[in-house]
């Protein structure tokens, strides 16, 4: 028996695990996956599998390649180091000889030069031989399982399923895979892997697919019956006050998502809320973010409703019609791409709601959730800046924030007045 020392605290919370958190998100997504398969058939399953598979495989290849490069560097280092030392010594002696101009320094340099080449030659030879036999070296052996691979803690599965659920059902599998690979590579891996990414990989992948393969994504393209193909949001995109949207889809249809066109997982508000409830009960996400996000959109649409004399369908369609609930509960709550303080998260979620609503009303696109998430992701470092990030609302911050909220409502309504 041995006595070891460690620094306090000596206890850890047993329930606090990254795996538990990520697994909970995957479990919360399960009802949506089942719903998507029931609604869209096996195509949905193939799309989801393609999304997860492309992300996992890309990550696997990336880590194997970086590990391979690292191992290559390690094996070289011994001999290379001695060569580098020798060259540094030469440089130093030469500099001394030139600066001081004393006989001693010159002599030292000359004597060093005389056997310099003789010293260098065998080292270079050694290095060459090492490089030749390197692949059979023991520490360069290929490891099948990579320790940084995040399949074990459900991180990549969660990203993949979320990405898959934001896609429409008729999208070619090749496009799904390209999007997934690019999303995980450019949004997560090159930033340094899990915990280091600035952008939500799922949102990034989805936006990449929208921008690169836009024509394949529009819901009408593949649907035979044109009227049933348009989502509630794209009807509103034509005319933001088009109340016929409620004739196409009743509020109950929008809420339950049965028979509704749209992305695989974004249609059923009911099941998304069930998933959100599960996450809230397990405390695996921060409830502040989705509440503020949804609340902001609701508040803005409510103000527009009153200003324009519309009926109550307007805010409800904005809540249940698009990808707002899905984005708010599963994408905006990704802790890695959120600020770390509670006020920061409230500002962040308010920004999400504002940008989403502005894109929906003024933008060319029918839906703004993923764009809003990527845009607000960029503001996270600013919201976390040490100079002003604080754990609690100060009176000053609360006053400024409420002024910003009022200003946002006024500007939105003025804008809507001119557009409408």
């Amino acid at each position: 028996m041995e006595i070891v020392t460690k620094s306090s605290p000596h206890l850890r919370r047993p329930q606090a695990r990254v795996t538990r958190m990520m697994r909970d998100v995957s479990i919360a997504l399960l009802p949506l996956v089942v719903f998507a398969i029931v609604q869209h058939g096996l195509t949905a399953l193939w799309i989801l599998l393609a999304a997860v598979f492309s992300m996992a495989v890309t990550e696997y290849i990336y880590y194997q390649v970086t590990d391979w490069l690292e191992r290559l560097k390690e094996a070289k280092s011994e001999t290379e180091k001695s060569i580098r030392d020798l060259k540094a010594e030469k440089k130093e002696l030469r500099a001394e000889a030139r600066q001081k101009k004393t006989e001693e320094a010159k002599e030292a340099y000359a004597s060093f030069l005389s056997d310099y080449k003789e010293k260098l030659a065998p080292l270079k030879k050694e290095l060459k031989e090492e490089n030749k036999k390197a692949p059979t070296d023991e520490n360069k052996s290929f490891r099948l399982w990579n320790r940084r691979f995040t399949l074990t803690n459900f991180s990549v599965v969660t990203s993949g399923v979320i990405y898959g659920l934001t896609l429409p059902d008729r999208i070619p599998l090749v496009v799904v895979m390209i999007g997934g690979a690019i999303g995980i590579l450019l949004a997560k891996l090159i930033f340094g892997g899990m915990g280091q990414n600035i952008f939500n990989p799922a949102a990034f992948a989805r936006v990449f697919v929208v921008l690169s393969f836009g024509t394949l994504l529009s819901y009408e393209t593949f649907v035979a019956d044109g009227a049933a193909g348009a989502t509630a949001m794209s009807i509103l995109n034509e005319n933001i006050f088009d109340s016929t949207v409620t004739e196409h889809y009743g509020i109950w249809t929008l809420f339950s998502g049965i028979g509704l066109p749209g992305s695989l997982g974004e249609t059923s508000a009911l099941l998304i809320l069930v998933g959100g409830l599960y996450l809230a009960l397990r405390r695996s996400f921060d409830l502040v973010v989705p509440l503020t996000y949804i609340g902001t959109v609701f508040l803005l649409s409510l103000s527009v409703m009153f200003a324009q004399g519309l009926d109550f369908w307007f805010p409800l369609v904005h809540l249940f019609g698009g990808g707002l609930l899905f984005g708010a509960i599963f994408m905006a709550t990704d802790p890695i791409t959120s600020p770390v303080t509670r006020p920061g998260r409230i500002y962040f979620a308010f920004g999400l709601g504002l940008v989403t609503f502005l894109i929906r009303i003024f933008g060319n696109l029918p839906e703004g959730v993923v764009f809003a998430i990527l845009i607000m992701n960029m503001f996270v470092p600013a919201l976390d800046y040490p100079k002003w990030a604080r754990n609690r609302f100060s009176v000053r911050a609360a006053v400024i924030f409420s002024m910003v909220v009022v200003a946002a409502i006024i500007i939105t309504n003025v804008g809507v007045h001119y557009v409408g």
């Binding site: 028996m1 041995e2 006595i3 070891v4 020392t5 460690k6 620094s7 306090s8 605290p9 000596h10 206890l11 850890r12 919370r13 329930q15 606090a16 695990r17 990254v18 538990r20 958190m21 803690n153 892997g193 899990m194 915990g195 280091q196 405390r283 695996s284 996400f285 921060d286 802790p335 890695i336 959120s338 770390v340 303080t341 509670r342 998260r345 976390d384 040490p386 100079k387 990030a389 604080r390 754990n391 609690r392």
Partner: protein
């Protein structure tokens, strides 16, 4: 778990009910010469000297105060030796062989109540200074300096929260000697002429509240109240206790005395009674031997100077199937892990914990902000960690790393099992070195 979780499971169920073992007679005691706040000392005894219980054997020098060292047994001085102190360092100790007679020194005599009733502040201060009483909760700050405040004190708060998990020494003390605590509190109130006294206990410790309320009936003439506090960690942190018990918020960095509050740990309060009434220094103290790597955890009332090894053996020693253990003096959240078990019980030792050494696999930080939500002093441990990693002094300053009280909650709640507290400590050091 992304949540502002200040709940720490307390693992006390079994220990609370175990009776206190009276471990009164070690063969030898080792009295530490340098104390936690006193690096210098003088010894007044030599090898072969006969000493009595409660006799002065030396003096510690803490710069702005001096502190006598008392013998805790009667017997023969055997010289000095080196032992590990609660902070893990080797210190000089006087070895006294116990003659098991417990002959008290002549100065140890009871004071009649009528004499104490006339005491003023300076009398109490003089007694506490003479008896070398320090904060027994672990701070080791001389109590007489605290009592000798020139501020106007209206409330005396007795901190019996004991929020550290695994610890039950204060719990047992209150159950065993509730009267001492009330009397000690009444002396302190008399000294500073405070109007109110508050005893702060955790709401979940029902039995303690019952015991205290029964005792309170006997002190009806004093304005003493029992404050029931929520079961949070670190509720026993002085400022948190004061805020919850009296409603007065004390900021980090200001002295509670300036707000009219004087706080004492419950065991210090009992020791005040011993010192004033019986003229005794701290001879014995309650402590807990607990943890998953010790065979039979016990509550023990041990003499100051008892060897820790002896106490662990008293609990049937270490479990045999464990390869690596940690021996911790103090609680599991803030206690110090010591390098060997050749340590001694000092005045401030609240517990000896023996844990099986656990390895935690660190994962990358996912910025879940559990540490930020949990922090009792409202700083952002995760941001400080990132600042320390890039050696960014200015950010550490902006993030107010110096406010950290090292309660350990950030590392406890961390989703990725990162030792966040260590990083914040480095951040504090970064600011201090400037």
């Amino acid at each position: 778990m992304i949540t502002g979780s200040k709940r720490v499971s307390d693992y006390k169920q079994l220990m609370k009910e175990l009776p206190t073992l009276r471990h009164v007679d070690p063969e030898k005691v080792y009295i530490n010469l340098p104390g936690e706040r006193c690096p210098k000392y003088t010894v007044k005894v030599e090898k072969g000297d006969k000493v009595k219980l409660g006799e002065i054997i030396g003096e510690r020098d803490g710069g702005f105060f001096k502190q006598p060292i008392y013998s805790t047994v009667s017997g023969v001085v055997e010289g000095t030796t080196e032992k590990t102190d609660p902070t893990g360092e080797k210190i000089e100790c006087v070895v006294i062989k116990n003659d098991h007679q417990d002959t008290y020194h002549e100065s140890i005599t009871d004071r009649p109540d009528s004499v104490i009733a006339d005491f003023k502040k300076k009398d109490f201060v003089e007694i506490l200074r003479e008896k070398g009483l320090v904060g027994l909760g672990g701070a080791a700050f001389p109590s007489y300096i605290k009592l000798d405040t020139d501020k106007d004190i209206h409330t005396v708060v007795i901190n019996a929260v004991e929020c550290e998990p695994y610890l039950s020494s204060d719990y047992r003390l209150i159950k065993d000697q509730p009267e001492d605590i009330f009397k000690g509190l009444s002396y302190v109130m008399q000294a500073v002429e405070a109007e109110r006294g508050v005893i702060a206990v955790k709401k979940t410790k029902r039995e303690l509240i019952e015991v205290l309320e029964r005792e309170l009936a006997r002190f009806a003439d004093l304005d003493i109240r029992i404050a029931e506090l929520d079961d949070y960690y670190p509720q026993g942190w002085e400022n948190a206790t004061f805020e919850k018990a009296t409603g007065i918020k004390v900021d980090v960095g200001t002295l509670p005395m300036e707000k009219g509050i004087l706080g004492f740990n419950v065991s210090t309060c009992a020791a005040v009674y011993e010192a004033v009434k019986h003229n005794l220094p701290v001879i014995k103290r309650h402590l807990t031997v607990n943890g998953d790597a010790v065979k039979f955890p016990q509550n023990i009332r041990a003499r100051v100077g008892t060897s820790v090894k002896e106490l662990i053996e008293l609990c049937d020693g270490y479990r045999e199937d464990v390869d690596e253990v940690q021996v911790i003096i103090g609680g599991p959240m803030m206690g110090k892990s010591i390098p060997d078990d050749d340590a001694i019980v000092t005045q401030t030792t609240t517990s000896v914990l023996v844990f099986e050494s656990a390895e935690y696999v660190e994962e990358p930080c996912v910025r879940c902000a559990s540490c930020v939500y949990s922090c009792p002093v409202d700083i952002q441990p995760v941001s400080i960690m990132n600042a320390v990693k890039r050696n960014d002094e200015k950010s550490a300053q902006d993030l107010r790393a110096d406010r950290c009280i090292e309660c350990g909650l950030c590392a406890y709640v961390c989703t990725s099992k990162i030792h966040v507290t260590d990083y914040v400590r480095k951040g504090k050091a970064l600011l201090q070195n400037k």
